[in-house]
């Protein structure tokens, strides 16, 4: 991945990642997690901020540290590495809100050419899964290794 990104730490099986965002709001620890869904080989991607002074997560809270492009490139790297180990895995991602979905879409669009080298990318729109194209307001996204 050629875009600038943060160094990642991963646990032993690359299901959970951690990195530190740096910006005007200081250092913020962020987590990336791949969770098994009810369907075999489908994993849900989630990422968010570590709660201050607690060993817990903020549910879908992502502080704007003016580094969204770098954060999203870092998350994309985590997806790349997870699917390197889990070659048959499909990763599904969706935001809790439309604005959060737009953020995910921005991350995919910014990294699209590189992502397409490694992944098949689809988007969910109006009840159908389809090949991902820029400028369609998808409700969810999914990727799978080529």
């Amino acid at each position: 991945m050629r875009l600038e990104r943060y160094p990642l730490e991963a646990n032993d099986d690359l299901m959970s990642f951690q990195f530190v965002s740096e910006g005007p709001k200081g250092q913020i620890i962020k987590y990336v997690q791949f969770l098994k869904t009810d369907k075999p080989n489908f994993y849900n991607l989630a990422f968010g901020d570590k709660r201050l002074n607690e060993d817990d997560f903020d549910d879908d809270v992502i502080t704007d540290n003016k580094d969204s492009q770098k954060v999203l490139a870092t998350v994309a790297m985590a997806v790349l590495r997870f699917t390197e180990i889990n070659k048959e895995a499909s990763i599904i991602a969706q935001g809790l809100t439309k604005s959060r979905n737009r953020l995910y879409q921005m991350g995919i669009s910014q990294n699209l050419e590189e992502l397409k080298e490694y992944f098949k990318i689809i988007g969910f729109y109006k009840g159908n899964w389809m090949i991902y194209e820029k400028n369609t307001p998808y409700d969810a996204f999914a990727v799978k290794r080529k």
């Binding site: 160094p7 959970s16 951690q18």
Partner: protein, 134 residues
């Protein structure tokens, strides 16, 4: 598993380090709401078949290209029926000669407006037949 992971990371990316202290995260569910949404989406609309989606997209693009090929061929056929060279048609359209070549050989993305303009200049009417899929 750990050796395999370390091998891949060592060879390909120095920006990831393995930290076993993060193993505790596997017992936590980050964003249970999103996991629930994902499960509901997959249950309601089914698991996406990537291969099928890719094939359908390729078939759609092939169909579109087939249509464009037909339009290019029609432009050429009509130009010849008007006994015009590519250069003469280009002059009538006010474009470079290469533009006409590209139009006739589908070597460019072309708008409906441009297509209609070409047939207007050739003094020909373009009509469409719509067939509903069963």
């Amino acid at each position: 598993m750990i050796k395999e992971v370390e091998k891949i990371l060592t060879l390909q990316d120095r920006d990831i380090t393995i930290n076993s202290r993060l193993n505790y995260l596997n017992d936590k569910v980050l964003s249970p709401k999103k996991l629930q949404m994902a499960n509901e989406l997959l249950a309601r609309y089914g698991v996406p078949d990537f291969e099928k989606i890719l094939l359908e997209d390729e078939a759609k693009k092939a169909k579109l290209q087939e249509g464009l090929n037909q339009i290019g061929a029609l432009i050429k056929q009509t130009r010849l029926q008007r006994h015009l060279s590519e250069e003469e048609l280009a002059a009538l359209l006010g474009v470079e000669n290469t533009v006409v070549f590209k139009l006739e050989n589908n070597d460019t993305s072309v708008s409906m407006e441009t297509i209609l303009k070409v047939f207007h200049v050739l003094e020909a009417e373009l009509s469409f037949i719509v067939t509903l899929k069963q």
